[in-house]
Symmetry: C2
Subunit: 433 residues, 2 copies
Amino acid sequence: MDCYDAAEALSRPEIAQLQIGRLRRSLAQAAQSPFYARRFAEVGFDPESVHSLDDVGRIPFTTKQDLRDSYPDAMLALPHSEMVRMHASSGTTGTPTVIYHTQKDLDWWASLMARCMYMVGLRRTDVFQNMSGYGLFTGGLGIHYGAEKLGCLTIPAGAGNSHRQIKLLTDFKVTGIHIIPSYALYLHSIFAEIGVDPRDLPLRVALVGAEPYTEEARGRLQELYGIKAYNSYGLSEMNGPGVAFECQEQNGMHVWEDAYLAEIVDPATGEPVAEGELGELVMTTLGREGMPVIRYRTRDMTRFLPGQCPCGRAHRRIDRLHGRCDDMLIIKGVNIFPMQIERVLMAMPEVGQDYQIVLERDGYIDNIRVRVEIRDEFFVEDMRQLGALQKRIAARLRDEILVTPKVELVERNSLPKTEGKASRVVDKRESGA
Amino acid sequence: MDCYDAAEALSRPEIAQLQIGRLRRSLAQAAQSPFYARRFAEVGFDPESVHSLDDVGRIPFTTKQDLRDSYPDAMLALPHSEMVRMHASSGTTGTPTVIYHTQKDLDWWASLMARCMYMVGLRRTDVFQNMSGYGLFTGGLGIHYGAEKLGCLTIPAGAGNSHRQIKLLTDFKVTGIHIIPSYALYLHSIFAEIGVDPRDLPLRVALVGAEPYTEEARGRLQELYGIKAYNSYGLSEMNGPGVAFECQEQNGMHVWEDAYLAEIVDPATGEPVAEGELGELVMTTLGREGMPVIRYRTRDMTRFLPGQCPCGRAHRRIDRLHGRCDDMLIIKGVNIFPMQIERVLMAMPEVGQDYQIVLERDGYIDNIRVRVEIRDEFFVEDMRQLGALQKRIAARLRDEILVTPKVELVERNSLPKTEGKASRVVDKRESGA
């Protein structure tokens, strides 16, 4: 196993031993902040009382609302003057959430990110184009610092300006990129317009994160660009990118357990789920000195993948995200994640690159309508063939989500396009109707 | 003199001694690149033949076109794998110009930038909001790395989103900002809209660069925000920001002569101008290892300010830019820089925050029309008063540019606004008429 640093190669017992020491230190550090000092006192929690990882369940959770309540700086565990970076959520409604970093925190974050990139085969000789927006969004600077730390020639391309992106990719023989999946698909249409096949470029690795997408969508991306695409998991509350990352096995994302304590809990009760069950990911920073965050409820639904990864790393893997607790749709009493629908659609060769989920209310009954873009070559004149396709899609979706949706077939480019994060659920149900 | 580092406090003789040593090293380094190896051979220049600063005139110039011709990497003086950053001009027409940096180059650049910020009174306890776009534009990441190096709490706000800028400025008790002058004036109108007076905020220092603006515009900016605004000079060919910067005397920008060799030449002949005369700034990198650039013709018109700066620093000062050689307008045989017009307008209390220069051709005669925004309180109904104002503006402009322009008075907000760099010259002359 070719590792970027020693912590990456730790065994399970070594990880557990490291974690309890760092957790105790992190709790003591958190207790220095006004927020946690009060919170720990309120619930009668003594950070000194944690002696083993079995004690974790007694530690109070931190929620998004707690972060908002601590605005702008009640979670700082060191003097304000020690902080060198601030990231804030874009949250246009309500109070933003803010995360602070010391220089040491930034250095560690960059190392974790460099470790991710090294794991998927990037080296200092690579040319890396970061197509993420910079600024307060952690995906930009987070990946950027990692790439520079690794020593790649880093091109801070930023988001948008597709023709320039393609010129950079081509002229500078770019071998690695950071890109959002929906933008990668959009960019491919621009490649097609100008008559360049990205498979002819030296590009070989994409870091892909920042929005949920399916295994099938990944397959398409890899095929269209002739690359390997690796999934990244991160959230600004835990720095940003570099929290969990796929290895070259492409089978689940290794959580860097020397830096984070990860748990999966039942989102309703907060109790741990059974081994391998789906639940809400809960994360604790184990090394951030400026602003430790303890048992953070991410709202992201996933599970630990069982067994040892063939790559040899002992850091546990989480499954790709099954959506957010908050994204869950309830239709006719059934819990549905939009990801389930995407997974079914993207597995069908007739389906194009876009779809939309429309929730409607007919009297007192909720319905789900799925508008599906069909590839040109399947958009035939023969209505019977289209009708059969429509039925086939509806049946496969019913098998997955247990509800029969209305399926509407649409032509290529007839659904609204987004260059950024795809937002594909439209809720037309009147509230309180 | 309170300095960030030792090189900042060097005496004149020490600077000269340092410069010749570093120039010789830089020439030898440049000769490692395919571009300079060929160029030096072509013109029969032997880098070893430079023994004193008096030999500088024998060294060949580098032009913007040379940078384009060396696209994408013929000016690299070290192996490609040593490079960790690339910046490219946004140039939508023609070949972009590209600058590469090694990690050592980035570290030095950040130190020079931190030195600028320290010089104007910023410290690690300050909160610094960078309102510059990030990505390939060097103003964003250049200032960002400097602020972090200094240890300020750095808020990577990026460009645009004025309401969020104001929320960050207010909520995080920001004390230093990086802002483009025209955007600062625009942002003030948003402050006014929401009824917040920026003079009530703890803000005290603005770093101002990236577009030419006048002393009068600076005065307004300082008055409106209750701050000190310091001018910055930089260009991506010499890294970006951090090349020359004002000290607290606000009287010319100190060129960091330990890092750059600066000359002023006649743009037509390339010969040095007399001491203190206006000419084109020519710059040489004295420490960049990845991609040295030798005697670069910046096209920027300025001059060395005579005498010793009261601050005590011996690094020579350049005057604020008098425009670019390429921006020079020729009207009725007279050379005019748009900056001259701005300087006159901004000194008049009746004039608002915007203006436009329109070049027209009437038969065979070129005319210049200046459209001037007038402040509400001066935009009176009495035509005679407006007529008198119009004449007064025309007379003052004629005194400065030696040509009588047509002056048109317009109401506030009636000229096209730009959030970014102001582009205020509209050339309506038909080419070849």
